[in-house]
Symmetry: D2
Subunit: 326 residues, 4 copies
């Protein structure tokens, strides 16, 4: 019987478990033996590879994170460890892999393919939504809804008390989460690397609105701002308290955003990503590719294409938020 393995690599996100479940179910449906590689690249090197059973994936649909766990591995940069990984796969006659992760994980598998000819499909999965070539990465919708619930709660209480709140979302180099959250939750200020802003101008606006009766201020800021020479969460809190003169408190959601019950959108996308990835690998197509989702359709692109540019947020989305930085 033909064998395909699945693994999750890099930062985890909601939606990985539904993808793993669909992968296993669909493999059985197509009479292929599914394998689970535990702990990402680490497990690939150390040989933690096991045939999947129905029980392994029963009842995981509504769990955040990834049941087969993830890791980062520097060892995989060395040929000898990749060779060891290849031997592990050979023991099970596995020459096809589905990998959920980001562009770093895809590059790692690409090198692995060049070395040993193992075919693979990458499924873009990261709440940062920062992979070039796809409009959407698995896990983003769930993360956005987690942020929404926190922001709605903050708004309740901020409107009860003249007060500001700064909500820090994940997003190292990409402000997508912060941007969409700010629009969807009706924030007054949004600080992300992609949008130019001037605190003096924002300050003028807030002071005027407060004078006119505004009772509270909700700001959303991307964590990456700190490293991108934007204003950090703490700087924003200090500025609101000292310059604007409003009691302010920070909410830092951190890893909460990676967990939580996956939304329907993430589950449906996970099912389709997994189905098409398996179909691709069973079609006899050689090499490595990434499945992407654009304009409501699925397609496959090369690793080189995904790595050729930096992801950019759509202009029309940035336009919707420009009034939050003026």
């Amino acid at each position: 019987m033909m064998a395909i393995a699945i693994m999750t690599s890099g930062g985890d996100c909601a939606g990985m478990n539904p993808a793993i479940k669909q992968f296993v179910d669909y493999c059985f449906n197509r009479k292929v033996q599914p394998y689970l590689i535990y702990d990402g690249l680490k497990g690939l090197i150390d040989g933690d590879i096991r045939p999947a059973t129905y029980e392994d994936v029963a009842g995981i649909m509504h769990e955040g994170g990834t049941k087969i766990r993830s890791s980062r591995s520097k060892r995989f940069f060395e040929y000898k460890y990749r060779e060891q990984a290849y031997k592990n796969l050979q023991k099970h006659n596995i020459d096809k892999i589905v990998i959920l992760g980001g562009d770093g994980s895809f590059r790692a598998l690409n090198q692995f393919h060049k070395d040993f000819g193992v075919n693979f499909v990458g499924i873009p999965a990261t709440i940062d939504n920062d992979i070039f070539g796809t409009e959407y990465c698995l896990g983003v919708d769930t993360a956005l809804n987690v942020i929404r619930q926190a922001t709605d709660a903050v708004r309740d209480t901020s409107s009860s008390f003249k007060r500001a709140c700064v909500i820090e979302t994940m997003g190292r180099d990409c402000g997508y989460l912060a941007l969409v959250s700010a629009i969807a939750c009706g924030a007054e200020v949004c600080i992300i690397p992609e949008l130019d802003y001037d605190l003096n101008i924002i300050g003028e606006r807030l002071k005027k609105e407060i004078a006119n009766g505004r009772k509270y201020v909700v700001c959303v800021v991307a964590e990456g701002c700190h490293d991108n020479k934007c204003t950090s969460t703490q700087q924003l809190v200090d500025w609101l308290q000292n310059d604007i003169g409003i009691e302010t408190r920070a909410t830092i959601l951190g890893h909460v955003q990676r967990g939580g019950n996956p939304t329907v959108f993430d589950r449906l996308l996970a099912s389709q990503f997994a189905t098409f990835a398996v179909d691709r690998l069973l079609s006899g197509e050689k090499g490595g590719s990434v499945i992407v989702y654009n304009k409501s359709e699925f397609d496959f692109v090369s690793i080189e294409y995904v790595n050729s540019q930096k992801y950019k947020i759509k202009e029309e989305l940035l336009d919707l938020a420009r009034r939050l930085v003026n």
Copy 2:
């Protein structure tokens, strides 16, 4: 100052409030006076039309339903009531309307336009997702996530006790909600008008799986099945208890699906629908049109186009569910 009014008509859904809020905010931004028509067509006829203020829409983003309420009205079929409605608009110099609702509401406004030249844009808003010409209607994502939470809870308890559960979703003529819920929640059976099925075949499968250790069965059924000569919820419960021999209980979510805190997807779509609808009306374009969302892009189509065909669920989505009816 130019004036535009907004109204909600027909069945309400989550996402209407974010659309109303963005409509008001964006009108102010574009220096246009926004008006709210309360109680749908009823309020249009009876003249419950008021200029909107910032306070009217503060803090409504996270509320399900519609703050300006909705209704159905037979009177609007009569010329004299439409004339009365027109006079009400004239008092406020309103000749542009944004209407959220389904195809029936759009047809009503189209007649109104033919009679008196009032321009309008229709925003498709119905949890049934059954409007031809748009992949997506406002409110569907929230409804799906409400159903998901109920289904996940049912699964917890069904797996604790050898038991089946039938979940009835809304959807009179269209099984979209039931279909996507069944796929996303990993149901074992899905009964909708769009998918042929044979209870005998499904029964064979279930009996075999139960013999092999299956502990529970989750079925999703569209309410409309009853009127479409499919198996109804009650018939399915009886069949599971008597023919399959498993204790079974029904969950009928009813109007719960229309309410609930709108998801990020519905809020973002609402913002964009409202923004583009206002832009369209302010551009000087005459007549009536419907804003549609297809392949991640917004476009405008005619009322005639929307009414020309019955909405059909995509084949690839139906394919994902075929194993649930065999």
Copy 3:
């Protein structure tokens, strides 16, 4: 090493998993070997009894239902099956059992104790909250919060459209869930076996309020009403539509109420119930007893006491709801 087993019996509820987890952790803490009896009385008879490991209970805290499953068993009424069950326990040197369930389950174990001297503690666990001798049964708080979320969603949409909604909660002989939900969610009508009512009087009130501008009506009804000669859900829907003249729709939550992520209250109570039950059994106390929670304190009572009377809802709680039946 001493051995104690845990089992869940009868209808499942949220809070059982946290109790099982705490039972296992606390047994290890007290240097006792914990055992899990799967599938309730069925597993006790058929010998599905296994030593518990840390892995068995990892990550089950937030799951509804019961991971060791439940069942009802008529066989246990027969001596020969009880004897068989006893022999199963003997194989593992188990002479102490913690059982989560209702009064029927406690009676079954009491007979078992009389036959073979197996000591046990019963933890009251049922969303019906209908066990005499304890103010509170495990699972009730989670069920109430599940109903609350549904009712809040229904209210959103009912207030958007002149409309009534009837919400049917679980509760065969006891209207506790319906009563507390009606008070906590601000319902207009509450029909339970414990409260006398007259539909004519309620109808008068509703008609007057509707004439004065009331836009919607929310009714909560206990499922058991049907069997108790109260008005059933369907009768209430018909009455609202025909006699009161308001469009009405039913929501039947069914088993959804047994599932869902256990609330903090249920988790904390579960921890304490399990801890004190283990302490009791290890103290050398003979016989069977039920742990009860009254006035913020835990105590033990006899099976006879629990079975001596029918549970009654506190008068002061009924008083809070009297205006909903007038």
Copy 4:
């Protein structure tokens, strides 16, 4: 007609809105005119006092925070401002007040009573649960469940990746929230001012467990720890990363804990607190008192009693958490 006013003071919390709604409804029921004092002590001084209508409180049951807003006011310490406040009340013939807040707010009203004889009842409302004389303060149950959801999400993702997470809860001087959350969510470490701990001992335990296969660590810490010479969130993160050698990230929920849809427990308590407070004031009882909830019963105590001691967490609750600090 007799008149009673309600106000919210100090930090807001979920449950205030249900109390306000019940206050208004119950006053109408008892044929008394209810008044709303907006913005707490500030509004009392500045005369923002308005008769309540049914519309003012419609649909607020499920909102966090307080619709009549809150504030802190130093002016109220001065006699002249209290005199001004009294004159404001006289204009409406109000000589009875229900105040939701903490002990500081109760002391303020007590002085007001001594000056001018205005009778009042204080309802303990603070998520810190730190008021002496009552087991429970309004808002605590909702805050705990908000923390639970975040902690469950963090656990999902932490278990996917060898990782630790530190969750900071509110609680300046009282570790109640952190303590109960740690127990209910199965945390591995809990740092609060009330529990002695030794990081070296905790570190030994964690290292041993990690060596035995533990994949993740969840720590809950009260924000007040910083000021109480305990380990702060940042110190804990640094210690986990540097001394224990595990990647660690912080979640700071901040004001999110004050908002959110009130739980059933908080709504029911709010209804009862408000009902009994109104009854007390209408009974002709003079002076000021605080309504308290102990052992499932409501009672009234004096302000002096509430201020006589510092709130202490029950020993049996602390006992449940001792294994988390060893």
